[in-house]
Each structure stands twice: as C-alpha cells, then as structure tokens.
C-alpha cells in the first residue's frame, strides 16, 4: 500500500529551493489541494518574480510567469475571460505587499473570484536577503543592517488584517508551516481557499508564514523555531475573514452586469 506519494499536480522535478526553505512544503500542499478537488485540469497558476518565479516548472497545470507584483492583475485577466478556470497566484511578501500592493488591494476590492497563496518569510529571498514590507521591527537584513527601525523604515504590513477590511475579500487566513500540526492547518486553509473559488465566493487569500534559513542566517531547525518565537507573536495565526461575497460581485460577466 502506498502511504506517501507525489501529488499528481506536482511535477516530477527537483525544487531549486534552499535547504530548509518551506516553499517546497507549500508547493506540495497546493498540489495536494488541486488533486483532492480534482481541479488541476482547470487550474491556471500565476507566479510572479521572487523565489517562486520557477513555480511554472513545479505544477502540472497551465502556468503564467508574471511581472513583479502584477500576478493579481494577470489573474484577473484570466479569470474574467475564463470564469470556469480555477485561477491562483503564488506570491511572496515583497511581491504582494510592496511592489504589487495596488494590484493586491484592488483584486480584494473587486472581489475577484481567485485564490492567492501568499508566502510571508519577512525577507526578500531571491535577491539575497533585503528588507521586505513584512520584515519584523528590529530584524536584521542586508538593507536594514542595524535592524529595522520603524522611525526610518516604517512598520511591517499585516496583510490578512488589511485585506479583511475589504468587502470583496471572502476569506483571509494566516497559517504557518513550521510544525506538523500547523502544516495540517495550512493544508486545510489552502483547500478551503480553492473550494471557495469553486463556490464562487470571492477573493480567498492564505498567508503562509514561511522560513528563509539562508537569508535569515540560521540553520533550518533554528528557522522553524524563529517562526514560533518571533513571527507568530507578531503575525498571529487564524482566520481573519470568512464570508461569501458572491452576491456582491460575481465573476461571471453575464451575472456581473
């Protein structure tokens, strides 16, 4: 009996991610969700610039590589023209909460019926460890070498809290993948975020607190602990919004007009 296998929606190629990085876990959870809901054949994934830029190599569904921060707009273009496709973006913190803030806020405002998987690891990974919009106060990065000083570099953005104020956001949950129980909860949230899209509920976002041992300068084990000791207290896990906005703004053009 097979008890553990590669999800069908996950391509049989090795990840390029650093040792101890949790992108791989989240990729697997997304692929498992696509398998369980049997939506891989309808899915179109959009991964913009960041560590997950090569996501097009890792999922078996159709994939688009978008410009930095623009995935929600690209996803809007796909979903509005193909309401029956299942459209998801997979974005990092710099992408979603800095350069793509306008796109993020406005897919929320419009209640686009898409799913956003948001990886928050408090740092720019791909470019080598610069300060992110989610970098914690006091956190040392290559562009906040003396620790993030709120008076100079401002305060981190709490994405789920911010987005949950928008009418068009149906579901916003923050999860983490630092422990097995948390991974199980993350899986449940990701499946729900896709199920919501099938049910045409509006925008669903799952914020995943993720590790970056390489750029945090930690061992993989220490990084997992840092999520628990430093990240989760600042970014509390939980459901920030869970509603149904399909009556407010259905995606189908016929219904919408």
């Amino acid at each position: 009996m097979v008890v553990f296998d590669r999800p069908k929606s996950l391509s049989p190629v090795p990840f390029h991610y650093c040792p101890g990085c949790t992108h791989g876990i989240v990729h697997r959870l997304v692929a498992e969700a696509l398998d369980e809901l049997d939506i891989c054949g309808k899915a179109v994934g959009i991964a913009p610039v960041g560590c997950s830029v090569f996501a097009y190599n890792y999922f078996e569904c159709d994939m688009i590589e978008a410009a930095h921060g623009r995935a929600p707009a690209v996803a809007t273009g796909v979903k509005r023209t193909h309401p029956d496709n299942i459209v998801f973006t997979y974005q990092g913190d710099g992408d979603l909460a800095a350069i793509g803030t306008a796109e993020t806020v406005h897919v929320g405002a419009r209640g686009e019926n898409i799913t956003i998987i948001f990886i928050n690891n408090c740092i720019y990974g791909m470019t080598g460890g610069q300060m992110a919009p989610t970098t914690l106060p006091g956190q040392v990065t290559t562009t906040s070498p003396y620790g993030r000083d709120r008076r100079i570099q401002g305060s981190p953005i709490h994405v789920c809290e911010m987005l949950s104020t928008l009418d068009g956001v149906a579901y916003a949950e923050r999860v983490a993948v630092n422990t097995v129980p948390n991974i199980k909860k993350a899986k449940k949230a990701i499946v729900k975020a896709f199920q919501n899209q099938i049910d045409k509920k509006g925008l669903s976002i799952v914020e995943v607190l993720s590790t970056c041992p390489t750029n945090w300068g930690m061992t993989p084990e220490a990084a997992l602990k840092w999520v628990e000791t430093d990240m989760i207290p600042f970014y509390p896990l939980g459901v920030y919004k869970d509603t149904d906005v399909k009556l407010l703004n259905p995606t189908s053009t016929k219904e919408g007009n």
Binding site: V44, G77, V78
Partner: protein
C-alpha cells in the same frame, strides 16, 4: 452600399474592436482617449463582453496579459503618460509572445505635458516600448475610417504573428467625427491558439507562458526566433500610401492627422506649379523602407512633417540611404501647423531646388 455611421475616432476604435470579436477591454481613464472606455462600458454588457476599469494602466496591461495568455482577444487603450506606465507590461507581453491590441491616442509630453494632439510618442512606439530587444506592430490611422479599419487589422496581425499591435493615433483623430463604414473590417484566417493557458483539462501537457530564461543561450535563441518573425512581418505587412509621388521633386513623409494637413498643402503647392507628393507610412513599424528608397532615385528632396521635434527624420534618412537631403518641419507640445505653414516650408525647399 454599406451603411456609414458618423462617429468620433475614439468610438470607432471601440466599435471596430467589438466587431472584430474583442469582447474584453481593460483600461484606465485619461484624456484624450476616455471615450473608448466610456463606449466600451456602455456596449460590452450588451454584447456579452466585459469592460473593466483597472486601478492603474499598469494593472490594465497586466489584465490584458492574463486575458491574452488564456487565448482571448483583448484591448487596452490609453494616452501618452498612461502608455509609459504600460511599458513594463508590454515588454513582458512581447517576451511571452502574446497577441493583444494597445491604443495610444497621443497627447503632448513629456511629463504630464498637455491634452492637445501630438505625435511625440513615435520613438516610444516604434523603438522603445519597454526594456529588452523587442518590437511591436505600430499602425498610424489618418482618418476615423482608418481608426476602425486598422483596429480590426491590428487584431488579426497580433494573432497571426503572436505579438502586440498598437494603434498610434492622436488627440485630433480621437476627438473628430467622420463617417465610418464597418463593413471594411479585416477577416483573415487566425491560427488556433494551442499555446493558451486556459486549463489542460487533462488532455494535453501543461502550457507555460513565460519570458524568463536562466540560460543566456536559450534567451538568445528565443530573441533570434522572434526577430525572424519580425522580418516576416516587415516583408508581408508593410503598409503605406503614395500620393502624387510619380513626378514629385519634393516628397513629404508624414503620417496620421499631419499627413492630411500635408495633402492640403500639396494641393496649394501644385497650384503654384511645385511638384510635391506624399509618402504616408500606415505601418510605422514595419517602416516602408523600400518605397522610400525607390523614391530617393526620382525625388530631389524629402520633407518630414510631424507633431514632434523630428522623431521620424532618422528613419527617413536610413530608408533613403541619405541619397537626398531630408528636411524637417514640425510643431510640438500640442500645436498643430496649418496647411499654409507646410506650404511655406515646401516653397522654401522649392526655392533652393531652382
């Protein structure tokens, strides 16, 4: 006899797009092209389409990228400052080999510039839409009829060659009203979009729309392949109008609304016995190099007339291989020359010729 409708240039673009099977419009308001958005907002719901106002031009062009990637005909429009914002998206769309149509109803620049007609985005449109080795098709209408017709052709060209096509108009063409016959719209055979990301349905391997290559040799190969396609476009799709060039000593090179001012000036010049003609590029890219080179044998002088500081002059010099002198006359910043101004330039040149 087809029925003609009296319309604004901007509206003609919008209606021609819909008649060409474009049911998705993504835009952001900016003068002097906002009528396109407004027309789409009214019409699209009636024809089962969608007009979506984006939060920015950046977002609008990326919505176009998503729609185009999933195999749908789509349109975005803007005016000069807004097109600058779209440049990032245009570069990605080119890098991903996606077809779409982009309208630029030009206004004065740089910066916020003004809202009067201009042709100051010639360089941007024909040479530098975004970063990287890239090219898009650029069509320059000179009448409301051509606003409609070239929009329709732009969709076919974009789909056939898998690249963006731009309608480079100006505020005057956008705002003026003329009769339009929509029967003249383009109906070419379009290849099936087997590359589109619209779900595998488990029936084919996944499609990937991407402009990223980690191996420089692969990137180079992709660019070379694209430039071969550009050569094919230049070979097959170059369009221009030759007007009274056969016996012309002076050939004016001018496009868009400016070409019409030149035609009035040419009539006045010919009445005075000066042999003047006009070469009007309809495609600004691909550029009509061959007819210009041919005219360089018969003509004695070229005069470029534009609503800018002479952005097309170098293209004329290159096309004519500098065989004959090339002069420039233009107004910029939204100022439009009168036929008398152009006639004065013609007479100045004619004086030198004699």
């Amino acid at each position: 006899m087809a029925k003609k409708v009296l319309m604004k240039g901007n509206e003609a673009i919008a209606e021609a797009a819909i008649k060409s099977g474009c049911l998705y419009f993504f835009g952001y308001p900016i003068t002097p092209q906002t009528e396109i958005s407004e027309y789409m907002a009214k019409r699209m719901p009636k024809v089962g389409g969608l007009c979506l106002q984006a939060e920015s031009e950046i977002s609008a062009i990326n919505m176009v990228m998503g729609a185009a990637a999933s195999g749908t005909r789509c349109l975005t429009s803007s005016s000069s400052p807004g097109v600058s914002l779209k440049s990032e998206g245009i570069s990605y769309i080119v890098g991903c080999d996606l077809p779409c149509v982009i309208v630029n109803v030009q206004r004065g620049g740089p910066g916020l510039g003004g809202i009067q007609p201009s042709q100051q985005d010639y360089y941007q449109a024909t040479k530098a839409n975004g970063h990287g080795d890239e090219q898009i098709i650029v069509l320059a209408p000179a009448s409301v009829q051509e606003m409609a017709q070239l929009t329709s052709e732009a969709f076919d060209l974009a789909d056939i060659y898998r690249m963006p096509a731009m309608i480079l108009a100006d505020g005057a063409l956008g705002q003026m009203m003329e009769p339009v016959d929509f029967e003249l719209t383009s109906k070419r055979e379009i290849p099936e979009k087997t590359w589109a990301t619209n779900g595998t349905e488990g029936k084919r391997p996944k499609n990937i729309i991407n402009s990223l290559y980690m191996n420089p040799n692969d990137l180079e190969d992709s660019i070379i392949a694209r430039y071969k396609r550009y050569d094919e476009v230049a070979e097959k799709e170059t369009k221009y109008e030759e007007y009274k060039c056969d016996d012309a000593d002076i050939v004016i090179v001018s496009y868009g609304i400016t070409a019409r001012i030149c035609k009035t000036a040419i009539a006045a010049a010919r009445a005075k016995g000066i042999k003047v003609g006009l070469l009007r590029p309809i495609t600004l890219w691909p550029y009509p190099k061959k007819p210009l080179l041919k005219l360089a044998d018969s003509a004695k002088h070229f005069l470029v007339v534009e609503l800018n500081m002479g952005q097309m002059v170098d293209d004329v010099k290159v096309a004519t291989e500098c065989k004959k002198p090339v002069s420039f006359f233009g107004r910029t910043g939204g100022v439009i020359p009168s036929p008398a101004d152009v006639l004065a330039e013609i007479e100045k040149i004619a004086g030198g010729l004699n």
